[in-house]
């Protein structure tokens, strides 16, 4: 048993869970609801076990560090938080259909981590700059924030796909939670995400200050996390002060999540001066 194996199995468990939720929703198979939830729980256990094994393996290699240090590990952690947050929502509000949007995201994150050739799965030693407890705090807070935004995005998408005015309350769509509930859930996830994104930016700033003596340097990654923060701050204000609800907020969660993805992946593709200077 090694972490790689456990995590690949977990990937498929998440995929299966996504399928079952879709089936529950589309074909209204009530009897499979418990199976769906059970599958998510198995996925979460596998995900946690995978990370723990990886942690141990890094110690066996003599380069022990928390499994939160590179893109691969962050994607695996991202999937875990999505699944856990979703499960909390499901339990708390007794909702099932959202799983059809949430679990595929956990699956994609894991699949991308293990399948993309660009992402090293190998456990590597930490570079000197990464040896900091602030880094761990930074990764954890950022990815909890991102996962909450991912769920807000999923719910927003569900809102836009299913709740356009005319079609509501017909067949499939009757099994979607009410508009008001979706709207509240979206908002909840955005608020939760905003708190953690704020924490993520702050822990990143404190880390930068302890490693390089500056807490802010306008590098593209920092800047994009701030842009994301501005976008969600705007969302909170239009909702609270202008009374925006539902569809408009759903569109906002999608724009916000695009900014999140850009902060996460896109930044690497931005031109640096050297890319045309030579």
């Amino acid at each position: 048993m090694n972490s790689s194996f456990i995590l690949s199995v977990t990937t498929f468990v998440y995929g299966a869970a996504g399928f079952i939720y879709l089936a529950v929703w589309i074909f209204n198979i009530k009897s499979m609801e418990r199976l769906a939830t059970g599958t998510v729980i198995i996925g979460i256990c596998g995900n946690i076990a995978g990370l723990l094994f990886r942690w141990k393996e890094s110690y066996d290699l003599g380069i022990g560090h928390a499994p939160l240090s590179n893109l691969y590990e962050s994607l695996v952690f991202f999937a875990l938080v999505i699944a856990v947050l979703y499960l909390v929502l499901e339990k708390k509000y007794n909702l099932k259909t959202i799983g059809a949007f949430a679990l595929p995201m956990a699956f994609i994150s894991m699949a991308y981590a293990s399948l993309s050739p660009k992402i090293g799965e190998v456990i590597q030693p930490l570079l000197p700059a990464l040896k900091s407890n602030w880094l761990i705090a930074h990764v954890i807070t950022c990815f909890i924030g991102y996962a909450a935004f991912a769920l807000a995005f999923g719910i927003g998408l569900m809102f836009l796909v299913t709740l356009s005015e005319k079609t509501y309350h017909q067949g499939l769509l009757s099994r979607v939670p009410e508009k008001k509930i979706l709207d509240e859930l979206m908002h909840k996830m955005v608020m939760f995400g905003f708190l953690f994104l704020t924490g993520g930016i702050i822990s990143g700033a404190v880390w930068a200050n302890s490693a390089w003596g500056r807490y802010w340097g306008w590098d593209p990654k920092e800047t994009w996390s701030l842009i994301t923060w501005f976008i969600y701050a705007t969302l909170l204000h239009v909702r609270f002060m202008k009374g925006w609800r539902g569809k408009r907020i759903a569109v906002f969660t999608i724009i916000g999540f695009i900014a999140v993805l850009f902060t996460y992946f896109g930044v690497n593709y931005l031109p640096g001066l050297h890319s045309y200077g030579s």
Partner: protein
Amino acid sequence: MQTNNKPKPSKNPLWLLFTSVKFTVTVLLLLAITSAAGTIIPQNGSPENYIQAYGKFGFTLIQVLDLFNMYHSWWFRTLIGLLIINIIICTIHRWPTTWKLVVSTGFKPESLSRKKPMQEFTTKGTEGNLESLYTSFMKKQYQVKVDTIKDGFRIYGEKGRWSRLGVPIVHFSVVLILAGALVGSFFGFDGYVNIPEGGSADRIQLRDSDRTKALGFEVVCKDFSISYYDSGAVKEYRSALQLKEDGKIILEKDIIVNDPLRYKGINFFQSSYGSLPPENLELKIMSRDSKKIQKYKTKIGKTIELPGNAGQFLIKKFNRDFHFRNVELGQAIEGELFLTNAKPVNIALPFRFPTFDKMRKGQWVITIESHDNRYYTGLQVTRDPGVFLVYLGFILILTGCWVVFFSSHKKILVEVTSSSKNSQVKIFGATTRNKMDFGQQIEKLAGSMKQL
């Protein structure tokens, strides 16, 4: 949610502008868009690069708008300034209302009972015993006030009034963080210094300027070392530093990345390193014919006499970055070989390839037998008296966001009217946030009350 607690609108158009959320949203989005632009247009490049990428006209535009250093440009600072004024005015404007809501004990049951009850049930109990039962139950969670009405009583409960401070705290922290940044940019500095092992410095070079700055004390680098993982990747950069004031040692510390030295508000960070020319060298010279080897202990700048008066070898210099036919070979010693009756030959001795000189196929083969590794440590030196404010802002903004997102001002009214047989219970409620959770809480509350 109460709507009757909005502050009165003012007539001053500028005040109106700065208290409007529309303005806030505009500024926030402008900041987002311009910040994004700054990540697409590379910052702090050389003019030639910009001209090459954007043409002459583009370059002029970029120059006029400071786009190559836009995060420090006048217009970007203006945007941030507008946001700050916006937040301050907004907060001042709303403060009296907010504060009144926090401190007032104004129980207003009527504002609640006008709405639809959130829960309703009938119970067997009578007015007399229900009142004390419900009151003591409600007191566990809420601040309550009881009052009698026709045929019954009502209990008014309230909690979390202080949660209304969450939003002003968040807004205040944004101001605090930016104030801290301002203090840092006025009263702080940011520079660097390279100190050779065994050497010292009492001045640093300021970044973004050609000035230097005296530290007021001396920094000695006693030792610099690099350690590696088995894979060859760098594990740690370590500088052993010593601070001296008037020749006396006042502080000694090894710094590594992420663990700086701090003294009198000045911070020293491990940021880079480099190699210095070796102090001592040992060379080996072999005659290709006789295979005889002779070793020499020497230094850069010295000349070696070859065996049998065959000639001399001058050790000219140390090259940190030696290239051979466009291939980078790293550190090397360069010298010149003077043989009798022959033209002088340039010779390079890269550290990484000790037998490099064999390739020349000359009569004399020169190799490096050993050399010492000397480094200088590159320190980032900063002073930022604003950090304290910034960190305070960090703590406050997290606290504020926590309060905003996880707590709310809740009001609840339990109205009980009794007839001879049973009592009718109605529960009304209002909250500032998280209405869905509040609904669940009231449901639970009603459930437990039924059990009482």
